[in-house]
C-alpha cells in the first residue's frame, strides 16, 4: 500500500442521465457517506482500458454497474469475483474486461487490485435520457449499499480472505 493512500477503491460505473444506467453512480454516492479515509469512492462513465488509470494503485476494488441480460428479474444483484467475470472479445475499443485490464497492468508493472468484487444489477432501461430509475432498480440501492459496506468492513477486519477472489 502506498503511504497515505487509500487501499480500497469503490467504483460506480454508469451514465447518470440514462435511466437505470445511473444505478452504479447512485450506489457510489451512498457509499461515500458511510466510508472512511481508507476507501476511495469514484464515479465514472469511462469503460474498457480507460479504466486502467482508475484501478491502478489500489489493492482491492469493488465495482458496481448495471447489466442487462434479460435472464433475471430487474433489480437482481449478481455478485462476481474476477474469476467469474468473463474475458472480453468485443467489437469496440472501449471494451476490455477486468482480467484484461489486470493482465495489462501486470505486464506494465502497475499496481492493480489483487482482489476485486463486482456487483451487477439487472436493469430495465439504460437507454432513455432523463428517464427515472425503474422501481425494482431503485429498490435495490439500499441492499447494494449495505453489501458494499459489509464487504468493506470484512476487508478492513480481514474476515474475508482475499484468496477467494484473487485472480
Amino acid at each position: 500500500m502506498m503511504e497515505g493512500r487509500p487501499c480500497c477503491l469503490v467504483l460506480g460505473l454508469g451514465n447518470e442521465l440514462a435511466g437505470d444506467d445511473a444505478v452504479g453512480l447512485l450506489v457510489a454516492r451512498e457509499v461515500r457517506h458511510i466510508t472512511d479515509a481508507d476507501v476511495e469512492v469514484v464515479e465514472s462513465s469511462a469503460s474498457g482500458l480507460a479504466l486502467i488509470e482508475i484501478f491502478a494503485g489500489y489493492e482491492r476494488a469493488i465495482v458496481v454497474d448495471s447489466i442487462l441480460t434479460g435472464h433475471d428479474p430487474p433489480g437482481t444483484i449478481r455478485e462476481m469475483g474476477m474469476d467469474e467475470v468473463g474475458r472480453v472479445v468485443a467489437p469496440s475499443v472501449h471494451q476490455a474486461g477486468l482480467p484484461e485490464l489486470a493482465a495489462v497492468a501486470e505486464r506494465l508493472g502497475l499496481t492493480f487490485p489483487t482482489c476485486t468484487r463486482v456487483f451487477a444489477v439487472e436493469v430495465v432501461d439504460p437507454f432513455t435520457l432523463g428517464a427515472p430509475l425503474s422501481a425494482p432498480v431503485a429498490a435495490a440501492i439500499p441492499e447494494l449499499t449495505h453489501r458494499v459496506r459489509d464487504l468493506l468492513v470484512c476487508w478492513a477486519l480481514q474476515e474475508e480472505p482475499c484468496t477467494t477472489t484473487m485472480r
Partner: protein, 488 residues
C-alpha cells in the same frame, strides 16, 4: 426463406452492436447490417432546461468524448446569446480541445487499431488485444502510452476542472484564464505530444506499411467506398478541430459544398430505417439513394480520413508531410479505403499536437481577457466541432429566458452511419460464403466498422468483463444450424 447469421452480445456492453448477416439460398450473403441501440429521448430530456447548463449536461451523455460535447455545447451557447468570445478565450478552448484530440486518438490507435494492425487481423484471437500489441511493440511503449495519456489528461483537468465532466466553457468565453504555469505545462505537454505522435507514425510505418499484406488489406475492394467526405476547415480549407466552416468534397475530391455550420439543416438530412434506432445522415443536395456509394448517392463520411480528404492541406507542417506520405502511398487523394482511417488518425494526432505547440507559444494565450459577458436575448444556437469520431453538431432553441424549447444533436456516428452500414454489408459479402464462418473471418467483418470507432448510442460504459458474443446461423426453415459462442 433465407438463412441468418446473428452476432449478438447477450449482456449489456458499450458499443453493444449486433451484426446480422442474412444468407440467401445459395449460401452467399444477401444482406448484412449492423444494428445499433441508441440513447433515446434527448430532445424531451432537454426541454425546459436552462440552456447554459447544456455544456455540462451533454458532457455527461458520453463517457468517451465528454470534451467534444462540452465544446460543441459551449459554442452553441456563443451563438445562442449572440456573443463573440475574446481571442484569448478561443485560443484557450482550441488548445485544450486539441489536447483532448491527441489523447483520444492515442487511446484509439494503441488499444483499438493496434490489435488489428500491429498484431494483425488474422493473428490468433488470444493475441489480438492490447496485450498482443504490447508483445509486439514492447512494454516500454505501453508504459509510454499510459504515462503520456496521464500527462495530457492532467493538463486538461487543470485547465478545465475535470476531464470527464469539464466545467470550462461558458457563453462568451471560458471560466478561467491560463496562468503562466499552465501555459508552460501545456507547452511541455505539446512538445511531448509531437514526439509521441511522430513515434506512433513510425510504429505504423515499421509494423503496418512494411508488411505488404497489410497494405493490400487496406487497399482491398472489400473495405473501399467512393463517397463524399465532410470536415471542419479554416479559411484556407485546412483542418481545424475546433472551429471553421464545413466543407464537403465529392468522390473525386472536388469541393462540392462549403457552408456555415449554422446552415447544416439545408445540407444534411436524416434517413430512417425500420431496423435501426440510429438515423442515417445524408447530403440533402444529392438525396438518399439507398445504401450505395458513388457521386449519385448522398452517403458521406466524417472522422479522420474524411477530414484529410476534405481538406486542401493540414494546418501544420509535419502533419502535412505525413498526410502527403499517406496519399502518395495509397494512390492519391481522396483515399476511399476505410481502413486507412487508422493512418489518418495518427496524422491528425500529429496535427493536433503541432497546433498545441503553436497555441501554447501564442503570446495571447495567458491573457486575462477570456470572457465577453452576454447581454442579448437568446434565440437559436448552433455549435459544431470535430469530435475524434467526426463532425458533432449541437442545436438549441430557447425562449426569452433561455429555457430550451427544442434541442437536437447530430453525433459523429450518425453522420457516418450510412457509410458504416455500407462497410459492414460489403465486407460481409466479400468475406462470408456459407454458414461456416470462423472467428477470424468475423473479425475481418468487424474491422470494417471498427475503423470508424463508432460510439454506439453514446452509451459509454460497460460492466468490466463478461461480454460474450453469439453467432447464430439459421437454416431455411428458421432452425438453428450452428451457434458460435464468442465468450472467450
Amino acid at each position: 426463406m433465407s438463412s441468418q447469421i446473428l452476432i449478438d452480445p447477450i449482456t449489456r456492453l458499450e458499443g453493444h452492436g449486433r451484426i446480422h448477416i442474412f444468407l440467401n439460398d445459395g449460401g452467399d450473403v444477401d444482406r448484412a447490417y449492423l444494428q445499433i441501440p441508441e440513447l433515446r429521448g434527448f430532445e424531451r430530456f432537454a426541454q425546459g432546461r436552462r440552456a447554459e447548463d447544456m455544456p455540462q449536461i451533454t458532457s455527461r451523455i458520453c463517457g468517451v468524448c465528454p470534451m467534444a460535447h462540452h465544446m460543441a455545447g459551449t459554442k452553441a451557447l456563443d451563438d445562442l446569446y449572440h456573443v463573440d468570445p475574446p481571442p484569448a478565450a478561443k485560443k484557450v478552448r482550441e488548445l485544450v480541445y486539441d489536447a483532448f484530440m491527441v489523447e483520444d486518438h492515442a487511446l484509439h490507435f494503441f488499444y483499438l487499431g493496434g490489435p488489428d494492425f500491429v498484431v494483425g487481423p488474422t493473428a490468433p484471437k488470444a493475441e489480438r488485444n492490447i496485450l498482443g500489441v504490447l508483445g509486439k511493440v514492447g512494454l516500454e511503449v505501453g508504459k509510454e502510452v499510459i504515462g503520456f495519456r496521464k500527462e495530457i489528461r492532467g493538463l486538461i483537468s487543470e485547465a478545465s476542472g475535470k476531464v470527464i465532466h469539464p466545467v470550462f466553457g461558458l457563453p462568451g468565453g471560458v471560466s478561467k484564464p491560463f496562468t503562466p504555469e499552465l501555459r508552460d505545462g501545456f507547452a511541455a505537454g505539446a512538445a511531448h505530444a509531437v514526439e509521441f505522435s511522430r513515434f506512433a507514425l513510425q510504429i505504423f510505418r515499421d509494423v503496418v506499411l512494411a508488411n505488404p499484406d497489410y497494405v493490400e488489406l487496406i487497399t482491398s475492394e472489400a473495405y473501399t467506398h467512393r463517397t463524399y467526405y465532410m470536415g471542419l476547415m479554416d479559411e484556407q480549407n485546412r483542418t481545424n478541430f475546433y472551429d471553421g466552416h464545413l466543407r464537403v468534397v465529392d468522390p473525386d475530391g472536388k469541393e462540392f459544398l462549403s457552408f456555415d455550420p449554422k446552415d447544416y439543416l439545408d445540407h444534411v438530412a436524416e434517413h430512417v430505417e425500420p431496423w435501426s434506432y440510429l438515423k442515417f445522415a445524408y447530403l440533402k443536395d444529392i438525396g438518399w439513394k439507398g445504401f450505395t456509394d458513388g457521386p449519385d448517392s448522398g452517403v458521406f463520411a466524417v472522422a479522420p480520413l474524411a477530414r484529410l480528404n476534405a481538406a486542401d492541406a493540414m494546418s501544420t507542417p509535419l502533419a502535412q508531410e505525413a498526410a502527403e506520405e499517406m496519399f502518395a502511398t495509397l494512390g492519391g487523394k481522396p483515399v476511399h479505403h476505410t481502413l486507412a482511417t487508422h493512418w489518418a488518425r495518427l496524422v491528425e494526432m500529429l496535427n493536433a499536437a503541432e497546433r498545441m505547440v503553436e497555441l501554447a507559444a501564442d503570446p495571447e494565450i495567458a491573457s486575462s481577457e477570456v470572457r465577453t459577458i452576454p447581454t442579448e436575448t437568446p434565440t437559436v444556437g448552433i455549435g459544431v466541432v470535430e469530435a475524434p469520431r467526426g463532425t458533432l453538431i449541437h442545436h438549441y432553441e430557447t425562449d426569452e429566458q433561455g429555457l430550451i424549447t427544442q434541442a437536437n444533436l447530430i453525433v459523429a456516428t450518425q453522420n457516418n452511419a450510412a457509410r458504416i452500414a455500407l462497410s459492414v454489408d460489403k465486407a460481409a459479402k466479400a468475406l462470408v460464403h456459407g454458414p461456416e464462418v470462423d472467428e477470424g473471418l468475423l473479425n475481418e467483418v468487424e474491422m470494417a466498422f471498427r475503423a470508424y470507432d463508432p460510439c454506439f448510442g453514446c452509451a459509454t460504459h460497460s460492466l468490466p468483463g463478461e461480454m460474450p458474443l453469439i453467432v447464430e446461423i439459421k437454416g431455411p426453415d428458421g432452425e438453428l444450424v450452428r451457434e458460435i459462442r464468442r465468450d472467450g
